[in-house]
């Protein structure tokens, strides 16, 4: 779940630049401003634009780890479109995204409503729910891998005691059961962040609006659906884009917990890119798959933004 904070910073930055327009700055001050911006520009160019350009360039080559690379035009892309392993990985990634996103949204919203009151106990639980966010995804994966391991895992043992599974069950032997274990881990791990984001959204809705609706006789559900949700739309959009992008880029949790199994049925798109690049040493092909995934991610994010755009914003 790697998400960049760069996108978050872009808006205020853009606004800041726009607001200086037409204020008649002296050339000297403009140069000074440019100098202040320079370190950021250099950082973005070095760590974002150059690797991105490099990835594009590599994707048009047959690029082995060792030996000479060779320009092959679009061949990597045409191979990718008929690569059943990659298409299967994409399909699984979508499946995972479609399942995990609503789970996170519902649980995140539920927790946000629970801790909304903001009194002492609520703040205590808010910290408790948020705590797993501070753990690394890899560490959390190893932790859950151990806890759910057959015969030795405490969580496995608990599930066996309450009769959910049998004494010979192996949660990672089935596609659905492995996926569910990963979903549980990811929910535990990131729901706190979703809760926090949604909580800040909820708190920015003025009480008066809800109050007025209540006076007008709206029920709790009506207020939730007609008042809270629409006003929460910008936050919902943010949370959705975050969680969908994170899910589409999932790698660590599957690499560590399921190793792509059983029988390669939980290999995600990034996992497939990793295997092509660093196990089969086809770096050019891996780059082409990365570009394809980036395009898919851009399209999906754009669609979400369009759908959730605040059309009735005043």
């Amino acid at each position: 779940m790697s998400t960049s904070t760069a996108s978050l910073n872009q808006k205020p930055l853009a606004r800041g630049i726009r607001s200086t327009r037409g204020t008649g700055l002296s050339t000297q001050r403009k140069i000074l401003g440019a100098l202040f911006a320079l370190p950021t520009v250099v950082m973005i160019a070095t760590f974002f634009l150059v690797p991105l350009g490099m990835t594009f360039w590599m994707s048009f080559n047959r690029w082995p780890l060792l030996g000479k690379h060779k320009w092959i035009g679009l061949e990597n892309y045409s191979t990718a479109l008929s690569d059943s392993n990659f298409l299967q990985a994409l399909k699984f990634t979508l499946e995972y995204t479609v399942i995990i996103t609503p789970i996170l949204l519902v649980f995140g919203f539920g927790l946000a409503v629970l801790v909304r009151r903001g009194d002492r106990p609520a703040r205590f639980f808010q910290s408790v729910y948020f705590m797993p966010v501070a753990i690394g995804l890899a560490s959390a994966s190893f932790l859950w891998l151990f806890m759910t391991q057959s015969q030795i895992g405490p969580l496995w043992d608990l599930m066996r005691r309450i009769g959910l599974i049998s004494a010979t069950s192996n949660l990672f032997a089935g596609h659905w059961s492995s996926l569910m274990v990963v979903n549980a881990m990811v929910t535990w791990k990131v729901v706190g962040l979703q809760m926090l984001l949604l909580l800040s959204g909820l708190q920015s809705i003025p009480d008066e609006v809800s109050e007025a609706a209540r006076v007008d006789g709206a029920s709790g559900w009506q207020r939730l659906w007609y008042i809270t949700v629409p006003l929460l739309r910008p936050t919902l959009a943010l949370v959705l884009v975050f969680s969908v992008a994170g899910s589409l880029l999932a790698f660590d949790q599957f690499y560590i917990m399921t190793s792509g199994g059983p029988s390669n049925s939980t290999i995600t798109a990034v996992y497939a890119i990793y295997r092509n690049s660093f196990i089969q040493f086809k770096l050019g092909y891996g780059a082409a798959l990365s570009v394809l995934l980036m395009v898919i991610l851009a399209i999906v994010s754009a669609i979400q933004m369009l759908l959730l755009r605040n059309t009735d914003h005043t």
Binding site: I152, I267, F278, A287, S290
Partner: protein, 428 residues
């Protein structure tokens, strides 16, 4: 690759690929050549994997204290050793010497990363003592590109206490597949969560180490000798898969086997819950620490015969070294009697038959069996060995997994054969 190499974490984010591939290490090579009288001098850099950290540090110290050449050791995480060495060598800033998992030797030799050290090899008085598996892996188109360095070999370990309890003779280990199967059934029949046999059903490296010997011992193969043709659809492979499948349907394996990526065999065996499992010498310290009453026996073929996988490392001089004389001196020393005797006594099997017999085998019964295995051990020779066999999502482990746990052996074999052949064809 020895199965103890459990891959830990490799985090590759999508858009970082170019960055990862482009700019890795900047460890510049060592310097300067031989002095006037022909004794090598100067410094060299040596790379090794983290799994070798303990003994490599000590070996380098021993070398430095007795030589003019001074070696400097860098330990690289196992998980990305190949990528690091490859990118560094390609950029001209690799080490002078590198220890290397022997399965990767053909790949690096074929891509020009390794220096031709045939003359160094020929100058060694004990070259005929080298174990054949390591030498075969070090040879590319008739030239020698590496020297054998550390060894291990696969054998079948069995729990003598469980054998006794099940009414079996603990001094008569199984010598055919039918005997393994029937012994496993009897041990499983003891009940209380006891199983006759286990293997790592989701681990490629473990199974090339532990499963190919059954095929070899039965006269079969998994690749042609030149590595150009996959033979995963051959009849001996079918039989070996059926053998494991039968033990699974007998109920002689724990459910953990299905998803074991290599870290459960040892704990299952040391807790006394499993009668037999194939592993290498790397497991012996854990068994001894658990005060097990156990022994080792060769991995048998279907109706007899034995075979073993030769694992471990070779040691190489990296092409482009600025101190070839110093590097050659180090790799020579790493195979000599002093270094290899020290290794034999400190946990790694030596790669010379003379020392295997005179030093290593004397340390106890399991060591003697490993020594015997290593003397005849084989490795599938291929520049894409890693992608076919060691990759936990590769064609080899998928074929075994699907055959043993779902039973559709024919389909699994044909899928595996096609995928393996495709990897070979793409690389050539």
């Amino acid at each position: 690759m020895i199965p103890r190499t459990i891959r830990v974490v490799a985090v590759a984010t999508t858009f970082g690929l170019g960055l990862l591939a482009a700019g890795c290490s900047s460890n510049s090579g060592g310097s300067q050549s031989a002095s006037g009288n022909g004794t090598p001098t100067g410094t060299i850099t040596v790379w090794a994997r983290d799994a070798e950290k303990d003994f490599m540090g000590n070996l380098v110290k021993q070398y430095n204290s007795s030589h003019q050449v001074q070696a400097q050791l860098t330990i690289i995480p196992s998980a990305n050793f190949v990528q690091k060495l490859g990118t560094a060598a390609a950029a001209g800033n690799g080490p002078d010497v590198s220890s290397l998992d022997l399965v990767f030797a053909p790949y690096f030799a074929s891509t020009g990363v390794l220096e031709d050290i045939t003359s160094t090899y020929d100058s060694l008085s004990y070259k005929d003592q080298f174990v054949p598996g390591h030498v075969a892996q070090s040879t590319w188109q008739g030239k020698i590109y590496a020297l054998p360095f550390t060894g291990d070999a696969s054998v079948l370990f069995y729990n003598k206490d469980l054998f006794k309890k099940a009414g079996l003779d603990p001094n008569k280990p199984p010598t055919t597949w039918a005997e393994i199967r029937s012994d496993a059934k009897k041990i499983t029949a003891l009940g209380k969560g006891t199983y006759g046999f286990t293997f790592a059903g989701a681990c490629g490296g473990c199974n090339v180490f532990e499963f190919t010997p059954y095929i070899w011992a039965s006269g079969g193969s998994v690749l042609s000798d030149d590595g150009k043709k996959a033979t995963l659809d051959s009849s001996q492979v079918t039989d070996a898969l059926q053998f494991y499948r039968d033990m699974w349907t007998d109920g002689s394996m724990p459910s953990a086997a299905e998803t074991d990526s290599g870290n459960q065999q040892i704990p299952l065996f040391t807790t006394g819950k499993v009668g037999m499992t194939a592993l290498g010498a790397f497991a012996i310290p854990s068994f001894d620490a658990a005060k097990m009453n156990y022994a080792a026996t060769p991995l048998p073929g279907k109706d007899g015969g034995t075979a073993s996988f030769a694992g471990g490392d070779v040691i190489t001089v990296i092409n482009g070294t600025k101190n070839p004389a110093g590097a050659a001196d180090f790799v020579k020393w790493a195979t000599d009697t002093q270094a290899q005797t020290w290794l034999a006594k400190n946990g790694s099997a030596p790669i010379r038959k003379d020392l295997l017999e005179s030093v290593y085998a004397k340390q106890g019964q399991p060591y003697a069996e490993v020594a015997k295995g290593l003397e005849v051990g084989k490795v599938p020779f291929s520049v894409v060995e890693n992608a076919i066999f060691n990759d936990n999502n590769g064609p080899w482990v998928k074929m075994i997994h699907d055959s043993v746990f779902t039973g559709n052996i024919q389909a699994a074999q044909s899928t595996g054969q096609q995928a393996a052949q495709k990897l070979i064809d793409q690389a050539s």
